[in-house]
C-alpha cells in the first residue's frame, strides 16, 4: 500500500510537467460539464418522491385543483376603499390575468372571486368588484359587502380595510420568480400611496434558487480569496498559498463537474459541497507543506525533501481522509435523497483531494522556484510547545476542566429548539421577509395548509353531522393565535343560506338536512364556473378540504397547530367513517424536518461508529480509538451547546454542519495521534515525544489549519441567505473547538491515561 502510493509520488516528482498537464486536461473534461447545471430549490425534494405524505400532498393538489400560489398584498395607510386605490387593484388584477403561466381561472381577487349576494330580492353570484365603483355610496356598499363576508374578510380584504390581496396560482413552481418580476412591473407603473408586498412559498423558494446561484458564484470564490490572504499573512510566502488553493479548487471542480455530469441536480444541500470540501482539501495540503518547509532547509534538495515528507506522512495522509470519506459516504444510508448525494459526492471529493495531494501537489512543488531562504517559524511553535508542557503537566486538571465544560455544553444542547422556515432562509431585511411579515399582519396568513376530511362514500360531506363537525373544528382552530383564517365548503353553504334568507343574521347557520345543503351548493354552482368549489370539495362530495391559513411558516408553529387538532379530535370524536389528514407545504416542511433531524442524527451516529472503528483499526488499539474520537465529541458538543445557549434555532443548515465536525475533528486527531506515536516510538519518552509534537511541525500544521478554516470562511457571514451565514459561523466555531480540543486536551488526555495508552 505504502509502496504503491510512494511510487505515485515518485512518478509525480520525476515527471512534474506531465502530471500538471494531465491534471489540466482532466479538469477541462470536468469543467465542460458545468453548463449542464440544473438547479433544484424545491424543499419538497428533501423527501423521496414516493414518501407517503408527499404522494398524499400531490393527490390533494390534484383532487382539489390546488396550485402553487403567489400572494400580492396591496396596502394603504388610510384604507384601500378609495376610488383611486380600487382602480389600481382592478388594473393590476387585469394585468395579472394576462401574464402567461398564471392560471387565470383560479386567481382570487376582489375583481374575479365570486361572492354570493342578495340585492333587491335577487340572488347574485358575481365578484364584488366587476367595475370600479364611482360614488362614495357605491364604495361604501362594496366595503360592507366584503367585510361582512367570511369568504372575503381576512382572506381577500383585511378586516380593517387597509389592505387587499390577490392570490395568483401559477402553472409550476419554477416560474414563480419570473412571474413575480412581471407582477412587479405591473405595480411599479402605478404611483399612488399604496405599498405592495409579494410573498408566498413558491416565490421564496424560487428566489432562493436564483440567489443560490449568486451565492455560489460570489461567496465561495470570496471565501477562496480570503483564504489566500489568510494563508499569505500566516506563511508570508506565495509558494505556500498557491498549491493548497489549486488542490482545493481542482477538487471542487472535479467533484461538482462529476455531480453535474452524472445528471444530479444541484440542490440546496449539494450547493454546499464546495464549501465543505475546501477546508478538508486544504487541511491535507497544509500538513504536507508545513512538513516540507520544515524539512527543506535540512536537506536542501526539493526532491529529497518531498520524499522525506511523504515517507513520514503517507499513513496519516491516507487514513485521515479515508476515514472522513467513509464517514461521509455513510450518509448515503440516510433516508433523505439530497443528503445521500451530498454524502457520496463529498466522499468522492475527499478521495480526489487526496489523489491530487499525492500527484499534482508534489509535481507543483517541484516546479516552484524558491528565491527567498526558508526561515523556521519560531513564535508559534514556542507557544504551542508551552501549551503542550502545560497540558501534560496539569493533565488531570485540564481533563477535569474539559469534563465540566462538556457537561455544561450538554445542558446547552438540551435547550436547543428544533425549528425551520424556508422564508427565514432570507435575512430579516430581505424584501421577501418584509413582504411576508407585512402580509401576515394584513391578511389571515400566507402559509396555507390543508386539513382534508375523507369519507368512504359519495355525498357524505353534505351530511349535516359532517358539515357541523367541520364548522365546530374551524371555530376551534380560529381561536389558535397562529391560525389567521379558515375557509371551507361550510362557509359557502352558510353564506348561501344567509343570502337566501334576505341576509337575516339568524340565518348565518348551516341547514339541518342534506337535501338543502345539496340544493344550496347546486344553486351556487349554477351561477359560477364548474370548478369554483373544487378547492373545497372533491367532485363526488366524498372529501372536503379546510383551508387553514397560518400567520407563521415556522415548523414549530405548524407542529403546534397539528397537535391542537389532534387533541380536539380526541375530545370531540369524528363522525363515523370520517378520517382527517393534513397536507400543504407547511405540513410537508415539518415532515421533512422530522426526517431531517432524526435522519441526520441517525446518520451522524452511524458515521461516528464507522470512524471509531477505522481509528481503532489504524491505531490497532481501542483506547487510542476512544481518545481519537474525543476531539470530535468535544467540538460537536461545545458547538451545539453554544447554539443552545445563544438561542439560535436548530435548522437544516445546522443539522448538516454536524457532519462537518467529523471532517475536521478526525483529521486533526488522526494527524496528532499518529505523529505523536511515531515520535514516541523513536524517543520512548512521553515528555520528549510531546515536545517534538507540540513544539514542532505537527501541532503547528494543526494550528494553522484551524486558523485558516476558521477565518477563511468568515465572508460567508455576509451572504444574503442565512444557511450560508450559519455554515460560515459554524465553520469558525467547529474549527476553533476542534483545534483547541486537539491541541489542549489531547496532550492532557494522553498524560492522564498514559498507562493504558502508552503502557508506561
Amino acid at each position: 500500500m505504502k509502496k504503491a502510493i510512494m511510487r505515485l509520488v515518485e512518478f509525480s516528482i520525476n515527471r512534474p510537467k506531465l502530471v500538471v498537464f494531465l491534471t489540466i486536461i482532466v479538469t477541462l473534461l470536468f469543467a465542460i460539464q458545468f453548463p449542464k447545471i440544473r438547479i433544484d430549490t424545491d424543499p419538497e425534494n428533501m423527501l423521496k418522491a414516493d414518501e407517503p405524505i408527499r404522494v398524499f400532498h400531490k393527490n390533494v393538489k390534484k383532487e382539489f385543483g390546488i396550485e402553487e400560489m403567489i400572494v400580492l398584498g396591496i396596502a394603504r395607510e388610510d384604507g384601500i376603499f378609495h376610488k383611486d386605490s380600487l382602480e389600481r387593484i382592478k388594473r393590476i388584477s387585469d394585468g395579472i390575468l394576462r401574464i402567461k403561466g398564471v392560471i387565470a381561472d383560479d386567481v382570487m381577487s376582489l375583481t374575479v372571486t365570486n361572492n354570493v349576494v342578495g340585492m333587491d330580492g335577487t340572488l347574485n353570484v358575481r365578484p364584488p368588484m366587476v367595475d370600479v365603483p364611482e360614488t362614495d355610496a357605491e364604495i361604501e356598499r362594496l366595503r360592507k359587502e366584503v367585510l361582512d363576508n367570511p369568504l372575503f374578510k381576512d382572506r381577500i380584504v383585511s378586516s380593517d380595510g387597509k389592505g387587499s390581496s390577490i392570490y395568483v396560482p401559477i402553472e409550476s413552481k419554477d416560474i414563480a420568480h419570473e412571474i413575480g418580476e412581471k407582477i412587479k412591473v405591473l405595480y411599479k407603473k402605478e404611483n399612488g400611496p399604496e405599498r405592495y408586498y409579494l410573498a408566498g412559498l413558491p416565490i421564496a423558494e424560487d428566489t432562493f434558487g436564483s440567489e443560490m446561484f449568486v451565492q455560489m458564484g460570489l461567496t465561495a470564490p470570496m471565501a477562496g480569496v480570503l483564504l489566500m490572504i489568510v494563508f499569505f499573512i500566516i506563511f508570508r510566502r506565495i509558494s505556500f498559498v498557491v498549491p493548497p488553493m489549486m488542490v482545493a479548487m481542482l477538487s471542487v471542480a472535479w467533484t461538482m463537474g462529476g455531480l453535474i455530469g452524472s445528471g444530479f441536480t444541484v440542490h440546496i444541500m449539494s450547493s454546499m459541497i464546495p464549501v465543505f470540501l475546501m477546508p478538508i482539501a486544504i487541511c491535507e495540503t497544509v500538513h504536507i507543506l508545513s512538513d516540507f518547509y520544515e524539512k527543506l532547509p535540512q536537506v536542501n534538495d526539493r526532491k529529497k525533501a518531498i520524499l522525506a515528507v511523504f515517507d513520514e506522512l503517507v499513513k496519516p495522509l491516507f487514513f485521515a481522509p479515508i476515514t472522513t470519506a467513509v464517514g461521509f459516504a455513510d450518509l448515503a444510508l440516510a433516508d433523505i435523497p439530497p443528503v445521500k448525494v451530498f454524502g457520496i459526492f463529498i466522499a468522492i471529493g475527499i478521495v480526489i483531494a487526496w489523489f491530487l495531494s499525492m500527484t499534482f501537489l508534489p509535481a507543483l512543488l517541484m516546479l516552484i522556484k524558491e528565491k527567498r531562504p526558508i526561515v523556521k517559524e519560531e513564535t508559534g511553535s514556542k507557544v504551542l510547545g508551552w501549551i503542550g508542557r502545560f497540558s501534560l503537566g496539569k493533565s488531570m486538571a485540564v481533563v477535569l476542566t474539559g469534563a465540566i465544560l462538556l457537561a455544561i455544553s450538554a445542558y446547552g444542547i438540551t435547550t436547543l429548539k428544533v425549528n425551520d422556515n424556508p422564508v427565514k432562509w432570507f435575512k430579516s431585511h430581505h424584501p421577501i421577509r418584509v413582504a411576508d411579515r407585512e402580509l401576515n399582519k394584513l391578511i389571515g396568513g400566507t402559509y396555507i395548509s390543508y386539513l382534508v376530511l375523507e369519507s368512504e362514500a359519495e355525498d357524505e360531506i353534505k351530511k349535516p353531522e359532517v358539515m357541523g363537525y367541520m364548522e365546530a373544528l374551524q371555530k376551534h382552530l380560529e381561536t389558535n393565535p397562529i391560525v389567521g383564517k379558515t375557509t371551507s365548503i361550510v362557509d359557502v353553504v352558510k353564506r348561501v343560506n344567509y343570502v337566501l334568507h334576505d341576509e337575516d343574521q339568524r340565518s348565518q347557520i348551516l341547514p339541518k338536512d342534506q337535501n338543502t345543503t345539496g340544493q344550496y351548493l347546486f344553486l351556487f354552482l349554477m351561477s359560477s364556473s364548474p370548478d369554483e368549489l373544487d378547492h373545497f370539495v372533491d367532485y363526488t362530495y366524498q372529501k372536503a378540504n379546510i383551508w387553514v391559513q397560518l400567520k407563521s411558516g415556522d415548523n414549530r408553529d405548524m407542529t403546534a397547530v397539528v397537535e391542537d387538532v389532534e387533541n380536539y379530535i380526541k375530545g370531540n370524536p369524528l363522525p363515523d367513517g370520517i378520517k382527517v389528514q393534513w397536507s400543504g407545504l407547511p405540513f410537508l416542511n415539518i415532515t421533512w424536518q422530522k426526517l431531517m433531524v432524526n435522519g441526520m442524527l441517525k446518520a451522524t451516529i452511524g458515521t461516528w461508529w464507522v470512524v471509531f472503528l477505522l481509528m481503532v483499526l489504524q491505531f490497532r488499539s481501542i483506547w487510542w480509538g476512544i481518545v481519537g474520537m474525543l476531539p470530535l465529541v468535544f467540538a460537536v458538543v461545545f458547538s451545539y451547546g453554544l447554539i443552545g445557549f445563544i438561542g439560535k434555532e436548530y435548522d437544516m443548515p445546522i443539522a448538516v454542519c454536524s457532519t462537518l465536525a467529523l471532517g475536521l475533528g478526525d483529521d486533526f486527531a488522526i494527524h496528532f495521534i499518529s505523529r505523536f506515536r511515531q515520535r514516541f516510538r523513536e524517543t520512548k519518552e512521553l515528555k520528549q515525544a510531546m515536545e517534538l509534537t507540540m513544539g514542532g511541525e505537527p501541532a503547528l500544521a494543526i494550528f494553522r489549519n484551524a486558523l485558516v478554516v476558521g477565518l477563511g470562511f468568515f465572508p460567508m457571514v455576509m451572504a444574503t441567505l442565512t444557511p450560508y451565514v450559519t455554515v460560515g459561523l459554524f465553520f469558525g466555531a467547529l474549527a476553533f473547538f476542534s483545534g483547541v480540543t486537539t491541541l489542549i486536551f489531547l496532550p492532557a488526555l494522553i498524560g492522564s491515561f498514559k498507562k493504558v495508552l502508552l503502557k508506561i
Partner: protein, 268 residues
C-alpha cells in the same frame, strides 16, 4: 390596335363578371353565415322539448351528472325566447326548476325554485359569460350571441369530417368572454361543428365540438356535443334525447306557478 383594346376590354368585363358570379355561388358573407347559423342552432322550429343528460367531467375523470328536461319557446326568430328546465338528477336536487326569459337587447330574467326551502328566487344575470348550471358552457353558448357583437371574417373553407365548412374568425367589438373565436360552420345546414375560443393570454382555452348530428322532424339537430376547457382539463358532454319540435308548448308553462309545481306531462 383598336381591335386589341376592344378584346382587352371584353376580356376584362368577362373576367369581372365571372368573379362576381363566383362570389355569389360561394354564398354569403361571414356575417351572413353567422346570422344563419344562429337561427339554425338556437331558433330551430317554434318550440322544442328535450331530455338532456349532461356529464361534467374533471381532469381526474370524476363525473357529476345532471339530468334535466328543457322546454324552449321562441317568440320571434332571432328575438325573445323562454326556457324552462326541470332537474331529475342529481338526487338531492330533484324537483329543482329553473326558468329563463331571454331578450335580445337586455339582460335575461332568471328564476330558480329551491324545493328544500320552498323558495323561488330571482337570480341576477350579470353577464352572459358565466357558466350554465356549472358546466363548461356559458349562458351565451346555450342561448346564442347577436352577430353584431363581433366582427366576422371568413378565413377559409375547409372539410371537417366530410362536411364542407366555412371557417370564420370572430373578434368581439365590446366586452366578451373570449378575445377571439374561430367557428367551423357546416355549409349545408349552418350548424357549428367546431368552435375554438381564445382567452386574454391569446391561448386556446375552450373548444366546442358537435359529435353527432341527426335529422329530427326534418330539422338537423346536434344531439351530442362536448365543450372542453383545455386549461383546466375539465369537459362537459351533452346528449339530447327525446327531441320534439313544434309540439305546441303553451305560454303559461313559463310561470312561477309551474316553477313551484313542474308540469309533469311536459317534463316527465
Amino acid at each position: 390596335m383598336r381591335m386589341i383594346r376592344t378584346l382587352f376590354l371584353i376580356g376584362a368585363f368577362l373576367f369581372l363578371g365571372f368573379s362576381k358570379i363566383c362570389s355569389a355561388q360561394e354564398g354569403f358573407s361571414a356575417q351572413e353565415v353567422i346570422a344563419k347559423s344562429r337561427l339554425a342552432f338556437f331558433y330551430a322550429a317554434n318550440d322544442m322539448r328535450v331530455k338532456i343528460s349532461m356529464e361534467l367531467i374533471n381532469q381526474n375523470g370524476h363525473k357529476r351528472v345532471r339530468e334535466l328536461t328543457m322546454l324552449r319557446k321562441d317568440y320571434e326568430d332571432g328575438g325573445e325566447q323562454k326556457y324552462f328546465m326541470y332537474f331529475h338528477k342529481p338526487a338531492d336536487v330533484k324537483d329543482t326548476t329553473f326558468m329563463v326569459y331571454k331578450y335580445p337587447d337586455k339582460d335575461d330574467d332568471r328564476w330558480l325554485f329551491i324545493p328544500a326551502i320552498d323558495l323561488v328566487k330571482r337570480i341576477a344575470a350579470n353577464d352572459k359569460f358565466s357558466s350554465f348550471v356549472g358546466s363548461d358552457f356559458t349562458y351565451e353558448d346555450v342561448s346564442g350571441r347577436k352577430p353584431e357583437e363581433d366582427t366576422h371574417h371568413l378565413l377559409r373553407k375547409e372539410v371537417l369530417n366530410d362536411n364542407n365548412c366555412f371557417v370564420i374568425e370572430s373578434i368581439p367589438r365590446g366586452k366578451a368572454e373570449y378575445t377571439k373565436r374561430i367557428s367551423w360552420m357546416d355549409e349545408n345546414n349552418f350548424l357549428p361543428l367546431k368552435e375554438e375560443f381564445y382567452d386574454k393570454q391569446n391561448e386556446l382555452y375552450r373548444q366546442f365540438e358537435a359529435q353527432e348530428v341527426k335529422e329530427i322532424n326534418g330539422i338537423m339537430t346536434i344531439t351530442k356535443r362536448v365543450m372542453r376547457n383545455l386549461k383546466t382539463g375539465h369537459r362537459t358532454e351533452v346528449v339530447f334525447q327525446e327531441v320534439e319540435y313544434n309540439s305546441g308548448i303553451t305560454d303559461d308553462i313559463f310561470s312561477e306557478r309551474y316553477l313551484r309545481k313542474a308540469p309533469m306531462e311536459w317534463v316527465k
